[in-house]
Point group: C2
Chain length 263, copies 2
DNA sequence: CTATACTGTATACACCATATACAATTGTTG
DNA sequence: CAACAATTGTATATGGTGTATACAGTATAG
């Protein structure tokens, strides 16, 4: 564990060790051999493996040996695998938050926010495989909360409403990231040797679903809307815009009501 | 494996074994000893453990021995743990879908839908811990897609838009379920012996966050909005309504635009 | 120089999902 | 009825996981 934690306040100790590292609270010590490894190298290696082979390929053993070290060496830098996962997310959130084009309206700026979140998940398919443990508590992650709040700053919303809005948007991003991940996986599974079609279960569902039991879903499945036979990613892109536009419309409607004095 | 799968079509074989069970495609065989165990008992036991001790406590060994059998006996009924998880979700989705009060408007009916989804997750804290593998393919789960589609039936939306809307709403439910789960866990962690306060990281964050780096988040944290010091669940309930109301407002705005001929 | 604190390693443990082989049990078929 | 075949529950074994612990080597502080 590189160095005595240079922590003054007790409450800082309560943070997960990974978060302490991310905040730079763990200062390196002078004594002893200087480590050949480092938290950064470990996290980088882990992300590389996850990018290439998925999160399930990330084991302490795998990460360590990819760096030419033994499994247990990692524990000199990181307290647990959970901490490693936390740091992987934090690293993936190290984004260049764009300077605000002050001319742009809040709608486009929020769209840019969601777009960037989704891009993170597209780049790192493993991102949504890491279960959320709670509210963001690491620096880069918190920047991704601060940013949309900045967009909302001058809108007539209460603190809680602003927070809820950010939550709604980031939740939507994550949700959409999960969708994209699933589609990607279904597609690469479809590219597997003996798989004949892009759609996996569409045919089976068409056999099983009856119009009596599923009166309203049945027609959509019949028309291939549900299973996306075409493997048409553009449609998915439309889905993305559709949902986000609804959310933004909803916010806009509230603002309109507010400024017209109603409610 | 209870019985020769009585499956006619090949495409049905491609379904995960858990889904085949859920659809009743696996018929019991006559030969051999009749099993003392059953898929239902196994799933019920697994759910019981997950309800009481969380999903991580659900291991094949744990489930089996809670029923008085050996680990491997489960594999006579279920092909893999993934199948068990699938069946757990499917069982949790076995809900009484309310008869439609035809008088109610689509807004309230969609609200009821989201409310029921959320209730499932409140009842089963483990629900959101099971990673989504793709689109729903089991009977009860599909009923939870059919239902909201029924609400949307007569609204002027395309197939894809309806599907997107349902996706948006169920995504929101799930997202909110995750939030609730996190809050519950933070709260029960706060109830732990040496933990002094209900909020876990609020104090630490107040120390770490500077107004320079987080100009717009900082004030909210300062006012306790971010970490919900009060442990006030009512506020969260408001968050819930707030986000959902925005989504519904957004749909309503689209419908209004549609029926006014615009766009 | 000595004590101390750190590094990387080797070993060990408990747990996990699951493949396989086997004895016991039952229904079907000759 | 007897022989067969299918199915059940079990015991055992394999290769994986995260991580606790003890240890030898090394660099710095006093």
């Amino acid at each position: 564990m590189s160095g005595n934690d240079g922590i003054s306040d007790d409450s800082l100790e309560s943070l997960p060790h990974g978060a302490q590292i991310a905040w730079g609270l763990v200062k390196p010590s002078t004594r002893g051999p200087k480590g050949e490894l480092s938290v950064d190298k470990i996290v980088e290696a882990a992300i590389g493996i996850a990018d290439r082979e998925g999160l399930s390929a990330v084991s302490m053993n795998r990460v360590a040996s990819s760096l030419g070290f033994t499994t247990m060496s990692l524990y000199r830098y990181i307290k647990s695998k959970d901490d490693l996962l936390l740091l992987m997310m934090e690293a993936a959130c190290d984004l260049p938050i764009p300077e605000e084009p002050e001319g742009a309206g809040w709608r486009d700026r929020l769209k840019a926010y969601v777009g960037l979140c989704i891009e993170v998940m597209r780049k790192h398919g493993w991102f949504t495989d890491i279960p959320i443990q709670g509210v963001p508590i690491t620096p880069n992650n918190l920047k991704l909360v601060d940013w949309p709040l900045r967009v909302l700053r001058d809108l007539p919303l209460t603190d809680y409403e602003k927070m809820s809005t950010v939550l709604l948007l980031s939740g939507y991003s994550r949700f959409y990231g999960v969708l994209m991940r699933d589609m990607d996986r279904a597609m690469s599974a479809g590219a597997d040797p003996d798989s004949f079609s892009g759609e996996k279960y569409g045919a089976a569902l068409r056999l099983l679903m009856t119009p009596e039991r599923y009166p309203d879903l049945y027609p959509l499945v019949e028309r291939g809307v549900y299973t996306e036979d075409d493997g048409n990613k553009d449609e998915a892109q439309d889905d993305f815009s559709f949902g986000l536009d609804r959310i933004l419309d909803g916010i806009e409607a509230l603002l309109a009501r507010r400024s017209s004095g109603e409610k």
